[in-house]
């Protein structure tokens, strides 16, 4: 049994005892009062019955005396005193008949006239006479109408006495004497009384002190004396006729009520006990089941909790009362505990992870220099396992011996004040590894105080790599410098004022003047006071983009070199401001000449390819011109034969008819073929005319038609070609040969684009449309195709040299680059395109009509 159970039971037993005691007592008192009242009523009733019985006896006696007293005969006797009478009417045995003790007739003088007294005692005579003597008696005869009766003590014995005046029958005559009758309270009398009351009744004269209880209660006329549980006595003092209290009536009675009371009380007490005990039992059972078991369960669950479990621990919640609230609260608490525990655990883990994953060694030492904590990185750094190191003197192990004295002094200071040279500082020192090698390390130390002792946390990093890296950087800078110095390209670094911040050897070599640091002054033969026109450096400073240009520089000796300049902006780290510009320049004088050659070659190549097409164009008519001539030859032979030999030789009539019919057709066809060839040759000649090197006024429409003719073989199998030429075009100043090249390139491209799209096996054909029109001061030439269009990804690049989407052998990627160069740079026009993938492309060339003068050599060299 648990203590709480013991305590509870003790408390409840005491409480039970008190309740049972008090309620039992109250019950007894209350019940006792009730029963006592009943007993009193019983006693009073008994006493009244006894009294009644005596009264009945007295009444009988009184009647007798009254009868006697009013007897005329007697009355007469007193006057006569006739003895006979006595003899006849009052015999000696009258007493026996009347059950009297005595009969006494007294005359008025108080002298007894007749005396009759029963045996055995006569001593009481005097007492009785005393009663009726006028001087001493309470009874006077005068005025006594009826007799008197009451208790009297005669000879020490209780008797019932009654007296009546002796008179006539009507009572009117004067009394001649008094008659007294007494009856002894004898056993038979008492028996008679007892019979009526079923009680034992005693009449006691002059009660002793043992009967003091008779009058111990002034509030009531009787007394009650319980003798035992079964028996009790009750009685009352009975005054005699003279009013003297000389007799008492005592009644013995059976205490059935009392016994009943006791029995009832006992039963009640028993019931009370049983009920209380049951209540206690039920209470305890309820307590155990509803309260203790759940509490114990809770306690057991709490005892069995595993704090490290991943899920928050829970106890069972049952019922809906304060206990379940308690359980719920415990759960809440557990959850909070779990959450905080987990957080703690997580923090611990993070801490551990941080510590162990740190690539720098982390060491915690106490004020004696002993290692308290070391992370994994220690092993990589020093070769010591963290656990081996724990507890060792850090400096003895890791510091080279030559520093030990210095460290010892430092540690003393640290122990006292938590200060030191290295504390809260980052220093580079030499550390000693396990294998004896010494490495340069960077140590950051911070001090902390725990429990009045100083500790130091040190973060140690191997800086050997960094030292090496620094050396490498120096080396690579050296390398870069060497590379730069040896570059044949000039490299300049310019600031916003165009000052040369840095220049490599090649750049310095090109320098013409020495009197300044500004690029536009030192790289020009004649000093300028502003940046050169179209300066790419300025553009790069302005838009932050790389730029490229060409520039020709005239030297003092009269020679001119062409340079290609490339500029690259250098941004500062924080913002987008271009702080510096790198300028690369390269002498491309030879390369530029080469480029011109290349362009010429491309033209030749195109002409060569055209030649193949033209050859085919020419070969076909020549084939049938030749065949027809062959036929005509045969025909002439046949005719001649017919003319010379008549009908007999050579060809028959059928043949002649055939010849006659076919010959004119053959001639016509041969002529047509020859004209076709001639047209092609003419166009070819016009197309490939090299021009005079200066701009000439040219008929754009005719040029286009020539180009269409010579390129016929390039497009005729994939497309039809339609021209919509504006006849009102004025002659345009241009380089016709170069423009022809442009038209050709665009037509060939259009044919290729269509060829990629149409299915030739199905006989599909696309359409190339060439139109010209005058638009103000511009001639606009549109060359449209219904081909594949230019893919999105290629649109930005199509004018770049060597950019091509065609397979090898079909195009060199030069065509559009040259077209742009010719139209834009040589003619000051524009070339643009509109394209839609899968639908076709239109190239639009716009040439200025008015300007005849050449843009000049400068433009060509400065702008690309």
């Amino acid at each position: 049994m648990t203590k709480i159970q013991q305590k509870l039971i003790l408390v409840f037993v005491v409480a039970e005892a008190v309740v049972i005691g008090v309620s039992g007592l109250l019950l007894a008192v209350e019940l006792g009062r009730d029963y006592t009242r009943q007993e009193v009523r019983q006693v009073e009733e008994l006493l009244r019955q006894v009294q009644g019985a005596f009264e009945v006896e007295l009444d009988g006696l009184r009647h007798s005396v009254t009868d006697w007293g009013r007897w005329d005969a007697l009355y007469g006797y007193l006057a006569t005193r006739d003895p006979a009478f006595l003899e006849a009417n009052i015999p000696d045995n009258v007493l026996d008949n009347l059950e009297l003790y005595c009969l006494l007739l007294v005359d008025l003088s108080g002298r007894p006239v007749v005396t009759r007294v029963g045996a055995p005692e006569e001593s009481g005579m005097e007492d009785l006479l005393a009663l009726i003597r006028p001087e001493g008696a309470m009874w006077t005869l005068e005025g006594t109408e009826a007799g008197r009766a009451g208790l009297a003590i005669a000879g020490g014995k209780p008797v019932l006495a009654a007296a009546h005046a002796v008179t006539t029958g009507d009572g009117t005559a004067p009394a001649r004497g008094v008659l007294l009758m007494a009856r002894q309270v004898s056993e038979p009398l008492l028996e008679r009384i007892q019979k009526s009351s079923t009680l034992s009744v005693r009449l006691i004269v002059d009660p002793g002190p043992e009967l003091a209880w008779l009058s111990d209660r002034p509030d009531r006329p009787y007394g009650f004396h319980p003798i035992s549980r079964d028996r009790a006595e009750a009685g009352l003092v009975w005054p005699d006729v003279t009013g003297r209290h000389r007799a008492a009536v005592v009644v013995a009675l059976d205490r059935s009520l009392h016994r009943q009371y006791l029995t009832t009380l006992g039963r009640l007490w028993l019931g009370l006990g049983v009920v209380s005990l049951s209540a206690l039992g039920i209470f305890l059972w309820f307590l155990k089941r509803q309260l203790l078991n759940r509490l114990f369960g809770l306690e057991q669950e709490l005892t069995a909790l595993k704090p490290e479990s991943a899920l928050p621990a829970r106890v069972t919640v049952n019922g809906r009362d304060e206990i379940s609230t308690l359980q719920q609260s415990v759960n809440d608490l557990l959850e909070r505990v779990h959450t905080s525990q987990r957080e703690l655990f997580r923090e611990q883990q993070i801490f551990d992870a941080v510590i162990s994953s740190a690539r720098d060694a982390i060491l915690l030492i106490d004020d004696a220099g002993r290692v308290v904590l070391a992370n994994r990185a220690v092993e990589g750094l020093f070769g010591w396992h963290p656990e081996e190191l724990t507890g060792m003197d850090l400096h003895a192990v890791l510091a080279p011996e030559r520093y030990h004295e210095q460290i010892r002094e430092g540690m003393e200071r640290f122990r006292d004040a938590g200060e030191g040279l290295t504390v809260n500082n980052t220093v580079e020192v030499t550390a000693c590894c396990r294998d004896g090698t010494e490495i340069p390390v960077e140590v950051s130390v911070s001090a902390l105080q725990l429990d009045n002792r100083w500790y130091a946390v040190g973060i140690v990093r191997n800086i050997a790599t960094r030292r090496r890296a620094e050396a490498l950087i120096r080396q690579s800078e050296e390398l870069m410098r060497t590379v730069m110095e040896n570059l044949h390209q000039g490299v300049l670094l310019l600031d916003r004022d165009y000052r040369v911040v840095m220049a490599n050897t090649a750049a310095r070599k090109v320098r013409i003047r020495q009197d300044s640091e500004r690029c536009y002054q030192v790289y020009n033969a004649e000093a300028l006071d502003h940046p050169c026109p179209g300066c790419p450096v300025r553009q790069s400073f302005e838009d932050g983009q790389p730029h490229e240009t060409r520039r020709s520089v005239k030297y003092e000796d009269g020679s001119t070199r062409i340079f290609r300049l490339q500029t690259f902006p250098v941004r500062n780290g924080a913002g987008n401001n271009v702080e510096l510009v790198i300028e690369l320049f390269e002498d491309i004088t030879e390369a530029a000449q080469q480029e011109q050659e290349t362009r010429k070659n491309q033209r030749l190549e195109a002409v060569g390819r055209l030649a193949a097409g033209i050859a085919h164009e020419i070969n076909t008519p020549i084939q049938y011109v030749g065949d027809n001539l062959e036929f005509l030859g045969e025909a002439i032979d046949a005719f001649r034969c017919r003319i010379e030999c008549g009908k007999s030789g050579g060809a028959g009539d059928d043949d002649i008819a055939f010849f006659l019919e076919e010959a004119p057709k053959a001639v016509a066809q041969a002529r047509e073929g020859v004209n076709r060839v001639a047209g092609i040759v003419r166009a070819m000649k016009a197309f490939s005319h090299p021009g005079s090197g200066e701009k000439t006024l040219s008929n754009i429409n005719q040029d286009i038609l020539n180009t269409v003719t010579v390129s016929r073989n390039e497009w005729k199998y994939v497309a039809d070609l339609k021209t919509e030429l504006d006849e009102s075009l004025p002659p345009v100043p241009c380089y016709p040969a170069e423009l022809n090249q442009v038209y050709l390139n665009l037509i060939v491209n259009a044919a290729h684009a269509i060829g990629d799209k149409v299915d030739r096996d199905k006989g599909e054909k696309g359409l190339i449309t060439i139109s010209t029109r005058l638009d103000g001061h511009w001639v606009e030439i549109r060359i449209s195709d219904t081909g594949t269009g230019i893919p999105e990804s290629a649109r930005d690049h199509i004018f770049e040299p060597f950019f091509t989407t065609k397979e090898v052998g079909r195009g060199t990627g030069q065509g559009l680059a040259i077209a742009q160069d010719v139209v834009v740079n040589k003619h000051g026009g524009t070339i643009t395109f509109e394209t839609r993938e899968g639908e076709g492309t239109t190239f639009i060339i716009r040439l200025p009509v008015g300007e005849v003068s050449s843009p000049g050599e400068d433009t060509e060299s400065e702008e690309r």
Partner: protein, 399 residues
């Protein structure tokens, strides 16, 4: 009467041809089609011996047409007559056209080319065998040699000379490359008769693209040959014979041009066997059995089985491939040099003798069991002594 079909999209060309060929109207049935589709329709309707097609035509061009004709009517001899001057056209038809003729094509050249092909064709009575020849796009190459060629072509140090030497080792490749260079496309005045010259003509780049991209040579062992037939043995024999032919020419001081031609002829003299063995493997095996059973020469057996000999077959192929006449003739008569009109040591005789020399030393699958005939033949031509000298030299070189 033979039927010739001309296809051209240019009506003028067809008219011209019709008029030009008017005198031959009784020899050839001449048909004209304005497009590839029309040509195919005509071919489906009636047998045609030769088709002459333009190259560039709208819709179906010449290459596509001839590819279709080769598949549907393999027996037709296929010519291209084109004004095209770029290489691509030739490459595209290289397997399908037997000859390329260039516009403008003189009437005589056209007539000759057609006549020559028809003449050669006439010699072959068996249509199945005829088909075999015209169907053939290329001759099988020896895989080993083909591999060497590819290596050489892919190597940065590859040279025209090396490539020529490699191609020369393989009769199949030699025949094909000679077909290519001798087509009128290259407009050569003199026919080319050796692979080395052909390679030099074409140039390294062209050869590279022809072999690696166009797939000029057949190099897969995809062909089913007759049982017991070894292409390798046959081709090795060809090379041996070629060497022997060169030796004879050198000893007899024959002109270098003829020497080259005969060298190639000797190399190619047995290509007909390869055609038969791959095209008619069952009959070819049957042929060998027949020769053995009846104790006749293989040639006779071939004539019995195929109605033609492998020599005639090879000559037909090389003829329609427009290889030089001297080669075609030497191949055609290499078993019967006596049938050639001419005195002394002519081409077929050289190849015949070279073949003989090699047969004496080699163990060739098709050994001529009858050595009587050669001896009488040599005797008749008075070459017995020379042959002995050649034989001696050959024996020496073999050692």
């Amino acid at each position: 009467m033979k039927t010739v079909l001309f296809v051209d999209d240019e009506a003028g060309v067809l008219d011209g041809l019709r008029r030009m060929l008017f005198p031959l109207r009784r020899e050839w049935n001449q048909l004209f089609a304005g497009s590839g589709a029309e040509a195919l329709r005509i071919l489906d309707e009636q047998p045609v011996d030769v088709i002459v097609s333009d190259m560039r035509m709208p819709e179906m061009d010449g290459a596509a047409l001839l590819r279709e004709v080769r598949a549907r009517h393999p027996e037709v001899i296929r010519f291209i007559l084109t004004g095209q001057t770029d290489d691509e056209a030739v490459y595209r038809t290289v397997g399908n056209a037997h000859q390329f003729l260039m516009k403008p094509c003189p009437a005589k050249v056209l007539k000759n080319a057609i006549s020559r092909a028809l003449t050669l064709r006439e010699r072959l009575a068996n249509p199945a065998v005829t088909k075999l020849v015209t169907e053939t796009g290329e001759l099988p190459a020896i895989p080993e040699v083909y591999r060497q060629l590819c290596e050489e072509l892919n190597s940065p140090e590859g040279s025209v000379a090396n490539i020529g030497r490699i191609i020369e080792k393989d009769p199949g490749m030699t025949a094909k490359i000679l077909q290519l260079v001798n087509s009128a496309f290259f407009g050569l005045r003199r026919p080319v008769s050796t692979a080395t010259q052909a390679v030099a003509m074409l140039g390294l780049e062209t050869i590279r693209s022809l072999v690696l991209s166009v797939g000029l040579f057949s190099h897969f062992e995809q062909r089913q040959f007759a049982e017991g037939f070894s292409l390798h043995t046959l081709w090795t024999h060809g090379m041996e014979t070629a060497r022997a032919a060169r030796m004879i020419c050198d000893m007899e001081k024959i002109s270098p041009a003829e020497t080259d031609a005969l060298y190639t002829a000797a190399l190619l003299h047995d290509t007909g066997e390869a055609l038969l063995a791959s095209g008619q493997p069952e009959y070819y095996s049957h042929c060998a059995d027949f020769a053995e059973l009846n104790g006749v020469s293989l040639e006779d057996a071939e004539r019995e089985v195929f109605s033609c000999t492998h020599a005639e077959l090879a000559a037909y192929l090389l003829g329609i491939w427009s290889l030089p006449d001297i080669i075609v003739e030497a191949v055609l008569f290499h078993h019967h040099p006596d049938e050639v009109t001419g005195e002394g040591l002519h081409g077929p005789m050289v190849v015949y003798c070279a073949d003989l020399l090699c047969r004496e030393t080699d163990r060739v699958w098709s050994v001529d069991p009858d050595m009587e005939r050669p001896l009488t033949l040599l005797h008749a031509t008075g070459l017995e002594e020379r042959f002995a000298a050649w034989h001696q030299r050959w024996e020496e070189t073999q050692k």
